[in-house]
Every structure is written in structure tokens, then in C-alpha cells.
């Protein structure tokens, strides 16, 4: 009975993966400017970023999800589909966390390198693009891998707003087959594989973009 449900689990896994990848992508798209803003924006902008950060890192994921789905639907003329609500809630939350990741990664690039680039006549944006970002991107990869695994696991809350993801497939199966324990153990295996496959992929990327001699401690050795 449980094994017959495998195809539906694979379809659910595709939805879960789509949720996670879209949320992390939204988080990255917004998180990079936010991270740069944390480092070098003007004071009012930094204050705004700070309050964004407080709310999205201080509210539980499920509350953010309810705000995005039920909350926004209460506004006149607004109707957000469940999938989009999950991506908005988890994406914005991830943007707050990724903003902190990129801020930390930028801080790891040695100050002297920025001064050197400026002395060579690089403008601030060019220094950011050619000197700071390429290194910060590499420094941020381990934390980003962690962020993926957090977001992936939080997508399991999507069933509460009606997305038919991996978790809700497991709930269907548990209800229909009465094999409740088996259904949830099976879904646990699926999440386990998705988590560690993703982390493994990040390791692979880390290794393929690594620059010999440039490490978390290598910055100082080079300078």
C-alpha cells in the first residue's frame, strides 16, 4: 500500500524542491542588495533594513506564511495562490537571513584590498563588483548551503495553506492507508535525501569555484 504511493511522493518532492529553490532564489535576489546595504547604505536605509531584518528573522515561519496567505487575502482585491504565498513568506525570510550572510562575507574581505583597488582608480561600484563580491560569494557558500537546508525543511509547512507538496502527499497517504507511521517515515526519508543531496551539490560548487590559497583564513595570508 505504502509502496504504491511512491509515484505521488515523487511528484510531491518535485513541488517541495520547486518551493525551496524558488524561495532561496528570491532570498538571494533580495539578499545580495540587502547585504550590500547593511555594509554601505546611508543611515535611514540601514534603519529600514534593520527593521525588515527584525521582523523577518523574529517572526516564526508559520506566522509569516499565515500573514502572506490569509493576511493578504483579507485585503480588498488581493488573492495570492498558496504556492506564491509560500515563496513570498519563505523568500522574504530567507532574504533577511541571506542579507546577514552576505554582510558577514563582505566583512571577511580584507579592508586593504578595497583601499588598494581604490588607489588603482577603481570606483566604489567597480571595487564591489571586481574585488569584494567575487570573494564574498565564495565565503558565503557554506552558509548558503545551510540556508538551503533550513528553507527546504520549512517548506514542509506549505501543506497548512494547501500546497500539495511532499508533506501533504504523506498526510493523504496516512489518512487513506491507515499506515500512519510508515507514511511519515517514508516522507522523512525523502526529506533526508533532498537535504543532503542539496548540501552535497553545494560542496561540489564550493570545490569547483575554490581559488587555491584563498580561504576563510587565506585572506590574511595573501594580504
Amino acid at each position: 500500500m505504502v509502496w504504491n504511493a511512491l509515484p505521488t511522493f515523487f511528484r510531491g518532492a518535485a513541488v517541495t524542491l520547486a518551493l525551496a529553490v524558488s524561495s532561496v532564489a528570491v532570498g538571494m535576489l533580495l539578499g545580495i542588495p540587502i547585504g550590500i546595504g547593511h555594509v554601505c547604505a546611508s543611515r535611514p536605509v540601514r534603519t529600514m533594513l534593520w527593521s525588515f531584518d527584525r521582523v523577518f528573522r523574529g517572526f516564526p515561519a508559520i506566522v509569516l506564511l499565515f500573514l502572506a496567505f490569509f493576511g493578504a487575502s483579507g485585503l480588498p482585491g488581493v488573492r495570492i495562490p498558496p504556492f506564491a504565498a509560500v515563496v513570498i513568506a519563505l523568500g522574504l525570510r530567507s532574504a533577511a537571513y541571506q542579507g546577514q550572510i552576505y554582510r558577514g562575507a563582505l566583512a571577511m574581505v580584507e579592508r586593504g584590498q578595497v583601499e588598494a583597488a581604490r588607489a588603482l582608480g577603481f570606483s566604489m561600484p567597480r571595487t564591489m563588483w571586481h574585488v569584494q563580491l567575487p570573494q564574498a560569494a565564495r565565503f558565503s557558500l557554506p552558509s548558503l548551503s545551510n540556508e538551503y537546508s533550513v528553507v527546504l525543511k520549512d517548506t514542509a509547512l506549505a501543506f497548512t495553506v494547501g500546497v500539495v507538496d511532499l508533506m501533504s502527499r504523506a498526510k493523504f497517504l496516512a489518512m487513506r492507508s491507515r499506515e500512519i507511521l510508515a507514511a511519515y517515515l517514508l516522507v522523512a526519508v525523502f526529506y533526508f535525501v533532498l537535504t543532503y543531496a542539496g548540501i552535497g551539490l553545494f560542496r561540489l560548487v564550493e570545490r569547483s569555484v575554490a581559488i587555491p590559497g584563498l580561504g576563510r583564513h587565506g585572506t590574511r595570508r595573501i594580504g
Binding site: 523574529g58 516564526p60 506566522v63 499565515f66 490569509f70 483579507g74 514542509a156 509547512l157 500512519i180 507511521l181
Partner: protein, 218 residues
């Protein structure tokens, strides 16, 4: 601001939910830390069997969403004759999950302490456990505290999943109020703010403990 009177009316319910959330956290935060210390020590000092067991457990728990773990504990286990109350299932789930994450920080902190200290302790005639307890752990605790603090903050936020195993905690009360009043946006925003206050308070208390425990370098 027509919502304000309704909000004030719902304060007693939110308060009841908040108390349940606090009870969940008050039980699972220290218990989780204890599990984390045991798992961390076992991973570093345990033999192949127990060390492997602890590592495997920690890896498994960190690879599966907390909500799946809660569903296994609360809805799945009765299938094999193990039943527990929602409160026990939730605190057990929170404890095991945060213990697994804590163990990573503890393990890292143990590995960051130079081997020589263990050798010195043993050379002075102290036993393994004694060395760990009086020399290694006091330092480990201080080094792991920033990570563990983060983990406790996460636990406060993830305690909101308790409502999915039928507990009416802060989030659960928020849901009831929202469905009754059809004020989803305002209600969940207020609920979120309460979590934000909890998280901010916890952070500052934990930072104060960190500062209090700090040993200035010689």
C-alpha cells in the same frame, strides 16, 4: 484602527497561548541543551559504536523537517502502541531536534580545544570523565554558547509548530482569534510581534550570560 477593541478583548486568550508557548520552551530548551551536550561528547569521545550512533542520530534529525518528526511522534507512534499527550510529544520533538543542532556546536567547541589540555589532565592523574568535566566542558560551554543561544532562539520560533499537534499555544490562539474575527493580517501580525519580543528578550538574556561567563584572555 477599528480593530483595537477586538484586539484588547482577545488579550486574555493570547496570554493563555503565550503561557503554553513559554512552558513548551522552558521544558525543551534546557532539555535540548542537555541532549546536545551528551550527543556532542559521545561524538567526540565515544567508541565507534556509540559515537557512530550519536553522529547518525544527529545527522538524521537535522535532515528531516521538525514537523515530520512531530507527526511521527504524535500521529505515527500510536500505530505501534506508543501514545503520548500532545504536550509530551511536542516537548520531546523539540528537545531531540534542538539537541541535535546543539550537539554540532558542542562538538565543534570540543574539537577547538587543544589536545594538550586533555593530555595534561590525564598526566596529572585525572580520569577521562573528570578531565572532561573540570577542564574541557567549562571552556566548551563558553565557546559553544553563541551558537547554542541562536539555537534556543530558533526553538522559541519553532515552538509555533506545536499547534499542528493540537496544542493551543500562542500561534494556535492566534489562529482561533483570526478565524473568529476574520482579522488575519492584524492578528497574525500581533502574534508575530509577541514572538519577536520573546526572541529579543531571550537574545539579550543569553548575551548577558555570555558576557558574564567570559574569561578575559591572560
Amino acid at each position: 484602527m477599528t480593530y483595537l477593541p477586538a484586539l484588547i478583548e482577545s488579550v486574555p486568550e493570547l496570554w493563555k497561548g503565550l503561557l503554553l508557548t513559554l512552558r513548551l520552551v522552558a521544558v525543551s530548551a534546557p532539555a535540548g541543551l542537555a541532549v546536545g551536550i551528551v550527543l556532542g561528547l559521545t561524538q567526540v569521545y565515544g567508541n565507534l559504536f556509540f559515537g557512530g550512533l550519536a553522529a547518525g542520530f544527529q545527522l538524521t534529525v537535522r535532515g528531516v523537517p521538525l514537523i515530520v518528526q512531530l507527526f511521527i511522534l504524535y500521529y505515527g507512534l500510536p500505530h505501534v502502541g506508543i501514545t503520548m499527550t500532545p504536550f509530551v510529544a511536542a516537548t520531546l520533538g523539540f528537545t531531540l531536534c534542538s539537541g541535535a543542532y546543539h550537539s554540532q556546536y558542542i562538538r565543534g567547541a570540543i574539537l577547538s580545544i587543544p589536545d594538550g589540555q586533555m593530555d595534561a589532565g590525564r598526566a596529572m592523574g585525572m580520569g577521562l570523565l573528570q578531565t572532561v568535566r573540570s577542564i574541557i566542558l567549562p571552556q566548551v560551554f563558553r565557546r559553544a554558547l553563541p551558537g547554542c543561544s541562536n539555537e534556543i532562539v530558533y526553538l522559541i520560533k519553532y515552538s509555533s509548530l506545536a499547534y499542528l499537534v493540537t496544542l493551543v499555544d500562542l500561534t494556535g490562539q492566534g489562529r482561533l482569534i483570526a478565524y473568529e474575527s476574520f482579522r488575519f493580517l492584524e492578528t497574525f501580525f500581533v502574534v508575530g510581534l509577541v514572538y519577536l519580543v520573546l526572541v529579543t528578550l531571550a537574545t539579550s538574556v543569553l548575551r548577558a550570560i555570555e558576557r558574564r561567563l567570559h574569561i578575559p584572555p591572560a
